[in-house]
Symmetry: C2
Subunit: 469 residues, 2 copies
């Protein structure tokens, strides 16, 4: 047994799996490997993702739901799909919120000795302004957990939620998830405790003076408090002042964000009809909207150009899909997910009428070097994707774990039969340094890493098209 074990193991980790497959059924054919090599060659030698991203980020710019630049991005996205040869393209209408940040977001910390420290803040997405766009002021209260307010009197205070992302979690996405409640729910919890305003430590491992925005959700039952993201450096400084002289620090803040109601925008959809099973749909997408600071380059300009490039590359290598491929640029992922919900509602109607969504893939974790995919799928689908590990290993794709595939395609999981949902997993160590900040710009996306992500998306779609059941 020992010698057999050694023989197996020396074939390499990936070959272990091949060993399994040899005794079962090989689930990829040699031509899969050849096609995938063609995809990568095409993207790495004639790739347009980087230039498309430049146009999206620099010529169109950031594109918050409801903004005129989001309209321009929709038109551009549809034009790109048409130019790459989809059979048909259309806008799937979606009502989206038209919140705006305004041009004022200021805060100061006032010490008992009369000194004032400027704080780097920006409104959380969806936040109400301070009353009459004027200053509010209150004593600082610093907490690290929402439930700390259960036993504290926060009346009249401005509350800083200051729990950092956990640096010990290897995956930064998990650390983000573990700190997210402060941003998502802090404002209403603080309102319940009587506070008048909220600051939330930016969700990033970086120690710098950039505030990182992101959406919040108000409970209907309590007052809506003005809430801002504050840079990690400022948050740490405030907490230190608070520890040194508790109860003596005043915070003053003002913001003039504004809720402009709803407007109609939409998901951009391009279809490439399948030759063999045109009634079976495989979706690939990213979200076109972005926050309104920075350029939404990684979040999610990368997913947008991954999607467009996958279409372009599959066309360029002469691929003939068996199933219908849908390329979708979702609207309103950042502050409502109305695009994703609408897409799933349409998909449910389509299911009822005989169209079947067999799989969907999303790229919404940045343009960094790809590591693999995350799967939200029935066991058999997970097993199928894992059986491709050998074919994907030459591209440094090693990760095939379970987990949420993405916000936009997430609502598709309620379809029956349940489609196979995949999310691209790029390396995440740098993502939250930039995420939702002024530094999420085109210059901070690496051309080859972006291309490898695009080729990975195209390859996964190709494998799904050839092998999904």
């Amino acid at each position: 047994m020992h010698s057999v074990k050694i023989a197996f193991l020396t074939l390499g980790m990936m070959s272990l799996e091949a060993g399994f497959q040899a005794s079962a059924q090989p689930s990829t054919t040699p031509s899969d490997s050849l096609l995938i090599r063609q995809v990568f060659n095409e993207v790495l030698s004639h790739g347009e993702a980087h230039e498309n991203l430049r146009v999206l980020c620099k010529d169109i710019g950031h594109r918050l739901s409801g903004s005129p630049s989001a309209d321009r991005a929709m038109a551009w996205g549809q034009q790109r799909m048409d130019s790459y040869g989809v059979d048909t393209s259309y806008i799937m209408p979606v009502e989206v919120p038209a919140w705006t940040r305004g041009d004022v977001a200021e805060a100061l910390a006032l010490s008992p000795d009369g000194t004032a420290m400027d704080l780097h803040i920006t409104a959380l997405g969806g936040s109400v302004p301070t009353e009459d766009d004027d200053w509010i002021e209150g004593p600082l209260l610093v907490v690290r957990h929402l439930d700390a307010l259960d036993t504290l009197d926060a009346r009249g205070h401005i509350v800083l939620f200051n729990r950092p992302m956990d640096p010990l979690l290897i995956n930064t996405g998990a650390a983000y998830g573990g700190a997210f409640d402060q941003r998502g729910g802090g404002a209403s919890v603080a309102a319940e405790a009587g506070a008048i305003g909220v600051l939330v430590r930016s969700l990033t491992h970086a120690l710098d003076t950039l505030p990182h925005t992101g959406s919040l959700r108000y409970k209907d039952s309590v007052d809506k408090l003005p809430a801002a993201a504050i840079s990690t450096v400022d948050a740490s400084a405030l907490a230190k002042m608070h520890r040194a002289t508790p109860g003596t620090i005043q915070v003053r803040m003002r913001m003039n964000s504004q809720d402009l109601g709803n407007v109609e925008q939409g998901n951009v959809v391009g279809e490439w009809r399948g030759s063999e099973f045109p009634h079976e749909i495989i979706t690939l997408g990213g979200h076109l909207d972005s926050w309104d600071i920075g350029e939404g380059a990684h979040d999610d300009g990368s997913g947008v150009v991954h999607t467009l490039e996958a279409l372009r590359a599959l066309k360029a290598i002469g691929y003939a899909p068996r199933r219908t491929l849908r390329f979708v640029l979702f609207i309103n992922e950042e502050n409502g997910n109305r695009g994703g919900k609408r897409y799933a509602a349409v998909a449910a109607e389509e299911h009822a009428s005989g169209l079947r969504h067999v799989a969907a893939m999303e790229s919404d974790a940045g343009g960094f070097v790809p590591r693999g995919v995350r799967m939200d799928a029935p066991d058999q689908g997970v097993a199928m994707v894992r059986s491709w590990a050998n074919t994907l290993e030459p591209y440094n794709l090693h990760y095939f774990g379970r987990g949420g595939a993405g916000v936009d395609i997430g609502p598709l999981k309620n379809l029956k039969p349940r489609p196979l949902l995949l999310g691209l997993v790029p390396d995440g160590q740098r993502y939250f340094d930039l995420h939702h900040s002024s530094q999420d710009v085109w210059e901070n996306v690496h051309k080859r890493e972006l291309e490898l992500g695009a080729a990975t998306c195209a390859s996964m779609v190709l494998l799904l098209d050839r092998h999904a059941e």
Copy 2:
């Protein structure tokens, strides 16, 4: 069989291996996992690698073999090891070359219409200067392969070797290897063909105006030509001009590099004696010398601070090594590898006297996010390391391939019995953007990525110490 296969596969790629091990012999114990988690926690919460790298890059600076700053780096490295609690530290003397770049490296391309284009060049390491440090001038000849000069008359010419790194190779190291011959051997091949000077396209995928230096080797049998790296943008522009009007472009260049003979420096060695098998040695190292442009931050300041941090972290968690751990900062990797050769020569003497080098690991591929390790080892050693895949998977370490482990530890492979040689494999997509250029500076190293690399080195040393035979 089908259901069994599905059951297996749904456990995940890594769990496949666990399935194997369960039926064979688990080769890591639960305490391995706990120790490795402690190592990562220590490095991610109290890591000193990033600050050590700042001191090395900013306070000491670049540190070419033979330079006074390399002397300062040696003293600093030894002091760091002592402060982290090695039982003994010493300098292992090595004679190293003391070549200097000088302060002049200029080149111009002259068109027939009288216009002149400045070219961004820097001397290749070891290059002779232009005669009397004065201008040389000759018609431009552009080739992409060394053997193109077999059939071309290069007499009196300045030759540009212009073959880019192959963008289709997924691993940039392979692309570097495929273009390296131009830099390493181009000067002597051009001399054989009668040329008077050499320009070599910088070895990088980046299109920019930075020249990337690196060593060359002259054949003894032919004249030594002055040879410089030229930026990729300039190389492409020259090639375009050459294609447009072949034979009409003149190149003028001068450099005042200088060979100052040999001086004595050395490898910095720190030893932590093993409690159980003190005569068995496990080495971990990186190289202390760097090129003299930039700061050698990734190449190989990262390897230096990975090594120091592994020592610090293993001490901090209270680890008690079974074997003797040697932490080595090698000298002269960049232009001679005399440090690595000397270390292997000493190791051979040690072998003869009863000390046994069971394993060595090197970090010399940058401070980017780790992907795994490359192994140059007997089959049984490779199998052992692969059996740890499960234990390492939570840290996103998936790659356990065969290949060269590193230049410094490479000469150890001639020992008998042959030690297990490991090289850290960080992600390589960005490495050659910076490599050997003015941009290889501390600011371009990411703190968490650097820390994850250090924790990986420490973990591998720990596993080797506990399980090597």
